[in-house]
Amino acid sequence: MIELKHITKVFHTQKGDIEACHDVNLTIHDGEIFGVIGYSGAGKSTLVRIINQLEKQTSGEVIIDGEDISQLSTQALRQKRTKIGMIFQHFNLLWSRTVRKNIELPLEIAGMDKELRKQKAKELIELVGLQGRENAYPSELSGGQKQRVGIARALANDPTILLCDEATSALDPDTTEQILELLKKINRQLGITIVMITHQMEVVQKVCHRIAVMSEGRVVEEGHVKDIFEHPHHTITKRFVRDISNKATNNQLNDDLKAIYPDGILLRLTFDEDIARQPIVSRVIRETNLDISIVSGNLTNTVDSSFGILIINVLGGSQEQYHHIIQVFKDYHVNVEVI
């Protein structure tokens, strides 16, 4: 169990004091995935570094399994850190080492025997699904693969806690999904407590059991993900929830449209700046002999170009003809999406 009690952190800079954390109180239970969400500058990265004492708090206590780790000697703290894994936004791998050697680094630091290290690295490589890439250098890996190495490295000394500092922020959505699945699997299989720092609401929504929302160094809201989603109180939380529900309403909107226009097909056409001012729709109607009904449209004009989105309902044709009309639009360089 991780208990943060009245954590305050003040950075003294030339421009004056900056309070990165103000009286933060959190309890993170064993085996849970706990998310800390906030916009940049909210103090969440500082908070996660206080958990493994990469940053020392100005005041307050960090208690891990009943032990106040801010009171530990340097030696004891280093020992403790081997049991707290950490992964980073930019992976922080050593380019001079291969995948296997990167994973072995924390074991070397802990003074483990060479043969045991090899064995352990092999197991970890399998756990994160990097078989066959053991001898590759980080420069030869994709972002997702690099983060897998980062995860394997963080798990090398069998930690009980895994800290994730914006671990998916530098990855594309698909890769993010895969990494989150991997983290969930690790949490389930190994029972590790995971603390995730992120500014992406989708991330906490997908994996976290409980979350804390941070703003200007304070925890403004804390609770189960579901409760926070359903009843956001603070303005910051509401903003996060709105961001993500906007994406959800897009899908909702599509479903609604389909219900209203059950016949024919619905197409979302995107007109780029180059073609937005051409009479494409009327040409397509003439060429295909199909009926088109305009459902909704939106055209944005700037000084020298236009950009438009048009949702249309195509009626009275066969499957083949629908196929044809999509092709015709595409021939006019219109981006077509079937709803």
């Binding site: 850190r81 980073f88 080492r97 630091i109 420069s139």
Partner: protein, 221 residues
């Protein structure tokens, strides 16, 4: 053609090449060791370093700048008493070593600090999070990650050292510089001058070639 070559004392040329190589290699090795130590101290005592210490950092920084600022040809004369004390003579290849080392070690210290500063701070943070001690951070992270820059700095310094040995040669240290000046320029034996220059170039190209090869080998970025 053979007449031109006959003007060259090949035995003297061989000795000169040996002297230049000897001066360059010994001073390079010693300067790298001293420079590396000073460079690490400079790096770790910085404000956000592993052992921040303003006083040591400022003093060392000043000394390094001082010795880098003194022109080599003047430095040789300034430290003559020290040279006499250390090697017991002011003449010959060995007598040139103190001046060569004192002028190049600060240079390497500076290059070393720059190279270490280029190491991604994130990897250092990651190793701290793994529980690494400062010594482990230096040996397992900093050196391996800075290796290509450290090696290419050795190449740069090696080449400028060859140049310095030629200058030292003019005031009695021997070597190719001495040969080119005394026998070539002063006695108007152009064949000796150009041949000596040719061998200086060969040495420089060899150093550059080795340096480039090693950097290419170790750089996995």
């Amino acid at each position: 053609m053979s007449e031109i070559f006959n003007q060259i004392d090949w035995e003297a040329m061989k000795v000169a090449i040996e002297e230049t190589t000897y001066m360059s290699i010994i001073s390079l090795l010693v300067a790298v060791v001293i420079g590396l130590i000073l460079g690490i101290i400079l790096y770790i005592t910085q404000d956000d370093g592993l052992y921040p210490n303003k006083v040591i950092n400022k003093i060392l920084d000043f000394i390094i700048n001082l010795f880098r600022a003194i022109p080599f040809i003047i430095l040789i004369f300034i430290i003559l008493p020290l040279t006499n004390l250390l090697v017991g003579t002011m003449l010959g290849a060995t007598a040139a070593l103190p001046a060569l080392i004192i002028s190049s070690a600060p240079f390497y210290a500076r290059m070393c600090m720059i190279a270490l500063n280029e190491v991604d701070k994130g990897t250092i943070e990651a190793s701290k999070a793994m529980g690494a001690s400062n010594i482990q951070i230096i040996t397992k992270i900093l050196f391996p990650e800075a290796k290509p820059a450290l090696i290419s700095s050795i190449t740069v310094m090696g080449i400028s050292l060859v140049g310095y040995t030629a200058m030292a040669g003019c005031i009695g240290a021997g070597g190719l510089g001495n040969l080119a000046y005394m026998y070539g320029f002063a006695r108007r034996n152009m064949a000796v001058m150009y041949t000596a220059t040719f061998f200086v170039l060969v040495i420089v190209f060899i150093i550059q070639g080795i340096g480039d090869y090693v950097v290419k080998k170790v750089d996995k970025r």
